[in-house]
């Protein structure tokens, strides 16, 4: 029976080997770890892999550059702003067709944006990019005109997938809540993107895309892209080593390290535009009455106290021990990936791990050490115990707070770490019953929304630190309508400086994502931002279009802007990758020994019982 099973299952393995060669299709297998696709409907989905699916299926009016994610022509070939900044005119590429042959025109663009502006569920994902837009019209097939109440500085970045009007006009406002936008009846999803989804359903674990040979940007070098979602890191990485998949996304830094020895695999930790922070309760209030709520410790309400603690964080140690090397020490809420907007604190202001300096700053602010060695509030009463909250689903979160507790205790401040699930912690934050917690954000190429989370108006909304600073708000409002890019960048940097000084957040780390590719099969993947960034799950789908199988990779495509490809993955020789489970031999050995011991026990047992009774 078991033998038959084994023989029967050998067949497909052999069959697989032969079909792969016979068809000679270039198929790129991607393994993704962690969360899956939640919806293929771009108005509903939420999780990162869903954005990847939409990106392959649809096009965007404006794209992102590979170097720093600044705006770049996509469907729109060019755009201009009126002098008062209140009218934007986009010129839409002509000759673009949806996968069902219907031409994509400016009308589809206007339809999509209007659907967001006047829709219900459509707004949840995309309205923030169109806030302040009064009308979007398409006077002709190649022109989109956008009218605004006030200038919007985040334009022209518009990461909204353009959907075909002739399909979506049949989806009513009521139906869209559960409209799947999945392939049905053997027909792929209609879109204009470089690939079309032929197989897959939102909660599923595999998705199959076919190349769009008529793509306006030129046919991709891949014939198919197949996504497979894994829950087990080892299963995904071993599939990569064995060649079942060609790419794995979302592995740990330790796995990257162990893969770097493999000759046919190129692995790296790509800097992703996100950060982790220790956030303080900077003043929880009831937004309606303005009265304080919750029970924050008076100390954490004081910007001077919080700022002093910035010198008590040994970030390199955190990166090494807690992040296992996968990440960079953090500074401000705008990651350095966004060069134009990131403010790097000058040496004399930058936090260093200097407990003496932290102590001195605390002394100056009135938090002096009492006779018991513990610091007191400026009025002489004890600080008590700070409540540090960590997320129970993240060891990184917990261990960051463990370290923080240790450093606080070195300063003479008592603290306690407790853990909450993410949803519980959200509740605690909104009630204001905390002193500090650890969490992180993902920052979009235009930092406007991230910056907005620190404004007074976002308290009891997206703000989780309850931070409020009138000067900061003023700058935020100013940059939000700015039409002068240089001035805006200066304002944004100034805002970061304010935040750095007031320290509602102490940014601990800029996160990274572990990725690995079979570089003996595929090459020419370009990181975004280049250098240092990620290969997949980028802004845009550059790599799916421009990466090549190794046989064709003698020269890579040049990126549309700039043209330099310094960071592209190079082809490697296809020597056999081997996975070393030698150590596991020992493990298996232990198990075998265990079995023998158990066997021995039972044998002894039987001998006695048999001997006793018979």
């Amino acid at each position: 029976m078991a033998l038959g099973l084994v023989l029967g299952s050998l067949l497909p393995a052999m069959a697989l080997g032969s079909t792969a060669q016979a068809k000679d299709k270039v198929v790129f297998h991607v393994g993704i770890l962690g969360e899956g696709v939640d919806s293929l409907n771009p108005f509903l989905g939420f999780q990162a892999p869903s954005y990847e699916m939409w990106g392959l299926t649809y096009d965007y009016l404006v794209g992102y550059s590979m170097t720093d994610m600044s705006p770049e022509p996509d469907l729109a070939t060019k755009w201009k702003t009126s002098a008062d900044g209140r009218t934007w005119t986009f010129t839409v590429r002509s000759g673009v067709k949806f996968s069902d042959g219907v031409p994509l025109t400016a009308k589809d663009v206007a339809y999509t944006y209007n659907r967001v502006l006047h829709g219900t569920v459509e707004q949840s994902n995309w309205l923030s990019y169109l806030t302040g837009v009064t009308s979007v019209t398409a006077p002709d097939d190649t022109t989109v005109v956008m009218k605004l109440k006030k200038p919007i500085a985040t334009l022209p970045l518009l990461p909204i997938p353009i959907v075909p009007e002739h399909i979506w006009k049949n989806v009513s406002e009521k139906d869209i809540k559960s409209y799947a936008a999945e392939p049905s009846g053997g027909k792929p999803v209609v879109g204009s993107g470089p690939f079309r989804l032929v197989q897959g359903t939102a909660d599923g674990s595999t998705f199959k895309f076919e190349a769009n040979p008529d793509y306006w940007g030129g046919a991709p070098h891949l014939d198919e892209v197949i996504f497979q979602f894994y829950k087990n890191d080892d299963a995904a990485v071993q599939a990569l080593i064995k060649g079942e998949i060609d790419f794995v996304e979302g592995i740990t830094a330790l796995e990257v390290k162990s893969l770097q020895g493999q000759p046919s695999i190129t692995a790296h930790n790509g800097n992703s535009p996100g950060f982790d922070e220790i956030a303080f309760n900077a003043g929880s209030i009831d937004v309606k009455t303005g009265k304080p709520i919750g029970n924050p410790n008076p100390a954490v309400l004081d910007p001077k106290f919080r700022h002093a603690l910035g010198y008590a964080l040994d970030l390199p140690t955190l990166i090494k021990k807690v992040y296992q090397g996968g990440g960079l020490p953090g500074t401000t809420i705008v990651p350095p990936n966004y060069k134009a907007y990131h403010w790097e604190p000058p040496a004399d202001q930058k936090f260093t791990f200097d407990l003496a300096k932290a102590g001195q700053l605390l002394d100056e602010a009135g938090y002096k050490k009492g006779s018991d060695g513990l610091r007191t509030l400026p009025d002489g009463s004890p600080i008590g115990t700070l409540r540090l909250a960590a997320r129970s689903d993240s060891p990184t979160s917990l261990h960051t707070m463990d370290y923080f507790k240790q450093w606080l205790s070195d300063l003479g401040i008592k603290s306690d770490v407790s853990t909450y699930s993410s949803s519980q912690l959200t509740g605690v934050i909104y009630k204001g019953n905390f002193d500090a917690f650890q969490w992180g954000w993902y920052v979009e190429p235009d930092p406007d929304s991230m910056l907005s989370y620190m404004t007074c108006g976002q308290r009891n909304g997206s703000s989780d630190s309850w931070y409020c600073n009138k000067a900061y708000d003023k700058l935020y409002n100013k940059q939000h309508v700015s039409t002068d890019q240089t001035q805006r960048e200066a304002e944004i940097k100034q805002m970061q400086e304010i935040l750095y000084r007031d320290s509602p957040y102490l940014v601990t780390a800029y996160s990274s994502i572990g990725e690995a590719v079979r570089s003996d099969r595929f090459a020419c993947l370009v990181p975004q931002p280049n250098p240092g960034g990620v290969w997949l799950e980028q802004y845009g789908v550059y790599n799916y279009i421009h990466m090549k199988p190794v046989s064709e990779a003698s020269n890579c495509d040049s990126a549309t802007a700039g043209g330099e490809l310094s960071g592209a993955v190079k082809a490697t020789s296809s020597s056999d990758s081997s996975s070393s489970t030698g150590p596991f031999l020992i493990g298996a050995g232990v198990v075998v020994v265990l079995l023998l011991v158990a066997g021995g026990i039972t044998m002894m047992r039987r001998r006695t019982t048999v001997g006793d009774r018979e």
Binding site: Q238, I251, L254, S258, L259, D402, I586, I601, E614
Partner: protein, 308 residues
């Protein structure tokens, strides 16, 4: 099932001292029989070893070794002279984690079993001893809880109650009692039928008095045998719940170690020292409890004894 180790079940005993003497003798007899079960003795040996490790943990390894902030070993270092079982992803000694983890794993197993036993014995006694609506209701309740699927309920409860050690204990305890209750109930039913309880009733002793003086002491041996098997299941459950990310993240148990090892990809990183030893410890301790439980069952159940 008609089970008792009382050889003289029909003799009414009135003198308290006599009863006690007889029970002590019964326990002694039981121990003598248990000793002949070498598998049970080996199980006991393994268990004693792990209990000693758990109790002596502060002597064997400093609790400082659990603190991420003071760990200064290499990140995921292989076993060496200094770190006999290597280090974890934070540079802590795996051996230290293993030693201290035994405390949490055993603690969870024993406490959950205690809860399960208390609820199970109480409801089993009540539903077995009392007829009428009390008996019916408690029996229905037992039946209802019996069909609650354990893992789904554990997942739901863990998200309701949050993730702490006590909640894990509670979840395991609350879901594992119905089996015990049914066992105790059937024991109680058979003992209740026996003459000496009836006689006591005729004399006019209160019902709770009867339960306390006659029924409970007679079902206790079965409860005891059942306990050891429940501990085994509870320890396995703790491991599984931790693996599913429902364990207490602030405490190190074997389950949480296995979970971390799984998360960092111990096969890929080749860190067998991180994933094999905790698994082996779980297997050994569960095996120990199972062997003891089986041996106890044979000692306490004359029908099984007669088998060979």
């Amino acid at each position: 099932m008609t089970t008792t180790n009382e050889s003289t079940g029909t003799v009414p005993v009135s003198a308290r001292r006599l009863t006690r003497q007889r029970r002590v003798a019964a326990w002694k007899r039981g121990w003598a029989q248990f000793r002949t079960h070498r598998s049970g003795m080996v199980g006991l040996g393994i268990l004693v070893f792990f209990v000693l490790v758990a109790l002596l943990a502060p002597i064997l390894a400093s609790s400082q070794g659990l603190d991420v902030t003071t760990a200064n070993g290499p990140v995921l270092g292989a076993p060496s002279g200094h770190y006999l079982l290597g280090t974890d992803e934070n540079g802590r000694s795996v051996l230290t984690l293993l030693i201290w983890g035994s405390r949490i794993s055993l603690f969870v197993g024993l406490l959950a079993t205690l809860i399960s036993m208390v609820i199970g014995t109480l409801l089993g006694l009540v539903s077995g001893y009392f007829g009428g609506w009390i008996g019916r209701i408690t029996f229905r309740l037992t039946e209802w809880f019996l069909v609650i699927p354990f893992l789904p309920l554990a997942i739901v409860l863990a998200s309701v109650l949050g993730r702490s050690l006590f909640n894990i204990v509670l979840v395991i305890g609350v879901t594992s009692w119905p089996g015990t209750a049914l066992l105790i109930r059937s024991q109680t039913l058979s003992i209740k039928e026996r003459a000496y309880v009836e006689r006591a009733e005729a004399i006019g002793a209160g019902r709770w008095h009867q339960i306390g003086k006659h029924v409970l002491p007679n079902v206790m041996p079965m409860v005891f045998a059942n306990t050891t098997l429940t501990v085994a299941i509870a320890i396995l459950s703790e491991t599984t719940l931790s693996f599913l990310g429902l364990g207490d993240p602030t405490r190190t148990s074997w389950g949480s170690m296995l979970d971390s090892a799984f998360e960092i990809g111990s096969i890929t990183t080749g860190s067998w020292w991180y994933i094999v030893p905790p698994g082996v410890c779980v297997v050994l301790v569960v095996l120990a409890f199972t062997l003891i439980g089986q041996a106890l069952e044979e000692v306490l159940n004359p029908r099984l004894r007669a088998r060979s």
